[in-house]
Symmetry: D3
Subunit: 282 residues, 6 copies
């Protein structure tokens, strides 16, 4: 199946299971730290996977033993987002405009994970700082190895995190005091603490086991009706940002088409006949 | 007191304690599974209890040993929501309209639990699949027996849950990754896991003990000022769906009438005199 | 530094650490219970600290061994909010207007803690009833001593809590069933339960240790860039009340100015040189 | 067609044109003023018409020469909403609860016009005071005879209008200063002024002509695809209360089912063949 | 009555009619242009009038023949909002913080007109530039003399208007293209155009006549029940910013107390007896 | 300047004035009707113009004498959005998914006009049906020739308009009844009616004059500070979709950077010196 997909420069794309894609940040010698070309490519990949009828669930991890990602690359930090806008204006209002456009684009790349119509499971290990949090909270489910060291690192470099952590983390985790503490101090926290507050859903002994569990979970989701799975992701994300009243109404309209899928009878029938259903692509 | 209430066809209605009503789904031979006439009657009951000045708190459970409810009845699934709309249009847009109206009505019946002005405590046991989750998240507090087996079952029949689970569950439970996992996989989870993530507030050894604890909790609430209790339910539900700013404003307007209740002096005085206050009906 | 601040009548204001202010309710003989002049003064203090460039983080606690605060003073309850509006109208609509204005003002005083641009850490001990919850959920982080006894006490005096608890507590704690239970029953809960549900972030043996830990945490935050810390508080509070889409947009606009701070290069450089950065006041 | 509909006590229901229903308030000797049984019946009628596949557009007017409606009946005003709640509590908080429930029910009856899935055109004449405004702004289009005298009358009886005028009128009319003026003074305004500010869409010489124009307009709408017309009403009402972003998203989901209607090819084909299309019922 | 009010430095406060206050900007030699001390005092005045039971409606105008207000004083522009923050930081992020706090305070002063619980009628004449628009759209009703020259002037000094015009003007006027045109070009428009688009509700020959009409309108409002009038203002402002659903709910809660006013029976009775009702103060 | 821009296939791009771009739909032999490749290219053009520092305002019109645009091309209608999804699924749920993705993409292309940071003025003439309305309401200002014939045409082909008209038109025009009437009947309306309801801001004798006026208006905007103009567009669009409270806050944060522009002193100084200011590019 992989043959239909192009090769990517900064990411490995493999298919460890039917309908399951595995995206791996591939810059292990630099602790998988990111610069602009990488997040632009990441958006391209997630858009492609979102549209592909051959993909029903996605695992996202980082290559190498040391880091899911150490966050922004230092050079990127000093040249792109933060550094001198060479040849550009020094007028603070114009610098602000350049920065706002830059942040918008960066945010949009990270949001491509959330916008992806298929569920995304992040498998983390080692260093998971800064952008690691932004990326993982845009995904649906987070798993990690027990050696993972997390940090909302931005205040340590004089910044309020702006690529998604401050917006999404409080909606992922049900402990607002904890979110404020880790965001206001940038202190490192480990896998057990992440599990306890609900930031990750499972902790495993090694990176390999973590990725393996993520693939198994993705495979399980991929075995279900894609109409049901993709609808469920959409409706949960919609409900996060709307009132119950609005959520119910949107759900009713959404399902007025979705419930007409043949998947329903296929699922019910195969349930009665105790066999595995197959579903048309989506 | 029961004499003032009619008998219901699919539910038992009893009054185990002063001001406490107990609604029990009564179709144990079918695992308390639901069909349309049942949820229509459920709405009638909760509307009646909401309006009755003789009721201050409500317990909701299922008859028999095996299930709180196994969810939608198979026939309902194949005839009503999902099945052929016999004699009706086959035009996908018209089918969608019929389905949307059907879902709206179904949602409204489940929402009658939330709309009920008195607090509702759900006591669950045994099988609690699909609609069980929709019903319980529309209530205020959830308790369960340790043998309870929960599942957001809908993706297993090719559906995104549409009667409230996807809208309300993420606002009940503070672990969004966990919500996504159980909703996207339909896996069964038990009482301990439900307690850990905050879906239920207590786990008890048996169904009987669970219902007993629910009645005790309801009786405790029923002993408080009904103006205070009903206001608290309303303001908490309002706050869930609005900003802090809007919530404070609504609270101020609400209490500008409620604080004029005689309950305040009644409560303060009986506190000073160390006796149990009584409150006028509401 | 303290010399620049006036003395306050009902609160002690000290500076236990560079850039850290400590506000202490000082009415220990009355269990630090509040009346109107106190919350008006509290607002003045938090407005002053919010504006002062010499303050970067704040600890808030109560004097004496027995109580963080027992809530509203009985006299206040019977004279102000609840009591006869002597000389005033008895027309229920006019009484409602007076009450609404009174509640608005009271809410605004409590909200001054949330509006304060610097992070606020509450250190609680002993009795923490009623208003104690309203005050603490307007802060950013809550710590407590293991002897703390909490209660959302209002229903016990015939009231739905209206100074912030019902609006903010469900957004602080990720267990909605638990919030409903404690708000609808007014039952007392202890430090361990508060920790488990995420209402507090840490429990310590004594009041002294709790305050000490709060000061250390505040000092840690005060050592970071004030642009980053104050931005992080603002963006987290904004995100609580808005959709992810709106949150990201606001964040981008906010940071388009904030990222131009010299703090970024100061932080990055001192990180490389392994020394402690200093930041211009804000 | 009328044979399938029951007779109503306070309203005439006729069918002046294929697929067009005409609802007429029938209490001309009392200037079509309303009491509770009337608005309850009005809700029943609009629910029935909303569901009937034989109805595609609705005209709403008042019987007799003198008034569309003079608003609330004086007896209703003194006995129901406003008067002594005989046998009921005199506790201001309990009276408030009764009033709130009463207002909710009343609002819901008026909202049945907005909730009706078919477009509703109001044809007004003569006196159109108080409730006349509430009713007409819940409809889609307003026409009037040149003798119509309008008034947001409520402040003249010591009330802020609460059945919909203050909520919907500013969203109907694009002149907020004008809305405030007429609502804060209760002054009478005429047909020309109503036309100028966009409150009505057309002014006609007589009541008869006004009703006739309304029927013609309804007939024109009834000749279009009911999928298209009902979708258009729903999407316009949704957009009124949501951001453009949310409106576009909801529209896309709605039309993903609606566009599958056979009506599209039927309309396009009959357009090419220059004949009148017919559409399946809805 | 005036004796109970202090004198103000930059404004004349008179009482041209029972229950009617008249606030007049009093800096005619400088075309009533504003600097910071003025808008701070304006907030004080409107807070005082809002709270005073002796005031039921307010007229706001400018002294002298030449201008309602020419907007910001040039010195204010060059020293306060816009000029060098002398002795203050030059760090763009810190300058941004100072500016944001300054704008917040300025906005809050203008918003005091909207927050005032009594209706405010603005009477304009002559030059009405920049801040004139911000001030007038925070009021309820706008009248003007035919010589009035309006301009959303800010783009002409390199600014997007930030004290309320861009937020409120589109909600006051029902012609969004017109709003964009005048805000993006800063072109001057006259009284007739202002009337046509609904920005003002009436145009009069002279300033004197305009003020006279404003006083008459205020007197008319002041003759109505203050419970009804103040509720109407509140509910109209609330509805502007909320969905119909939320607006109806808030209205129901608001009126559950307000409808208990004695004003209702007073108004109805005096109506029957054809005499002028009197209402208790509020 | 044009040399820096590529040629486009379906549009003419010219620069009739310094900083003013003119985009012209160039398919006059087909009445400028649109198919998919065209709206994709339109998005590319508006993205390019939005980013170009050489463009400050944009005019958008249609080539030829007969039509601004007649809307969707018939072939597009029958093959793309509406027609058989050849080789694709016939499952109604899967068709719905394809349609939803298609509509999303189409909407996003039209929204590129709104998202463009520079003001866009539409100059219309002749036939302006269907998509013509969707396109024009995404722009800032609408002008038209007196021969223009408008129609919200979609119900005539069995559709509820879904590319923006139903969402944006009611927010552009202050006459909701009129919007409903034209959207529910698809009737053609002319230039004078469009002017009267505020849909267009000006009507001119010929297409040439209309375009000329649009260019003049664009040139006027282009002569102002681009920081001020682009901020004004952003803040007006933001305010349309948010409460006044949120709008003021966003405005304050936005201007905290924008006010630091050198444009302010440049504008003020050149005003004093009575010469034309020049502003740095943006």
């Amino acid at each position: 199946m992989a043959s239909q997909f192009p090769s990517y420069k900064y990411f490995n794309l493999t298919f460890p299971h039917e309908y399951v894609a595995h995206v791996e940040t591939n810059r292990p010698d630099k602790l998988n730290s990111y610069f602009e070309a990488m997040w632009l490519e990441l958006r391209t990949i997630f858009k492609t996977l979102s549209d592909s009828p051959d993909v029903r669930a996605i695992v996202f991890s980082g290559a190498g033993d040391r880091a899911f990602t150490a966050g922004l690359d230092v050079k990127a930090a000093s040249q792109g987002l933060l550094g001198p806008q060479d040849g550009k204006s020094t007028d603070p209002a114009r610098v602000a405009t350049q920065l706002r456009r830059h942040i918008d684009e960066f945010q949009d790349c990270v949001t491509s994970i959330e916008r992806c119509e298929k569920p995304v499971i992040v498998a983390m290990h080692g260093i998971a700082y800064g952008l690691a949090i932004d990326l993982s909270v845009a995904a649906d489910i987070r798993l990690c190895a027990k050696n993972t060291a997390f940090s909302v690192k931005e205040v340590d470099i004089g910044l309020a995190a702006d690529i998604g952590t401050l917006t999404r983390l409080p909606k992922v985790v049900g402990n607002y005091g904890w979110v404020k503490e880790v965001a206001l101090t940038a202190r490192v926290f480990g896998a057990e603490e992440a599990l306890k507050v609900g930031f990750v859903s499972g902790v495993y002994d090694t990176k390999q086991e973590t990725v393996q569990k993520a693939v198994e979970l993705a495979a399980l989701m991929a075995s279900k009706s894609p109409v049901a799975v993709q609808g469920t992701k959409e409706l949960l994300n919609y409900s996060r940002d709307h009132s119950v009243k609005d959520g119910l109404r949107y759900t009713g309209v959404w399902n007025s088409a979705a419930v007409q899928a043949k998947d329903v009878s296929a699922a019910v029938l195969s349930g009665l006949e105790k066999r595995v259903p197959t579903f048309e692509k989506l």
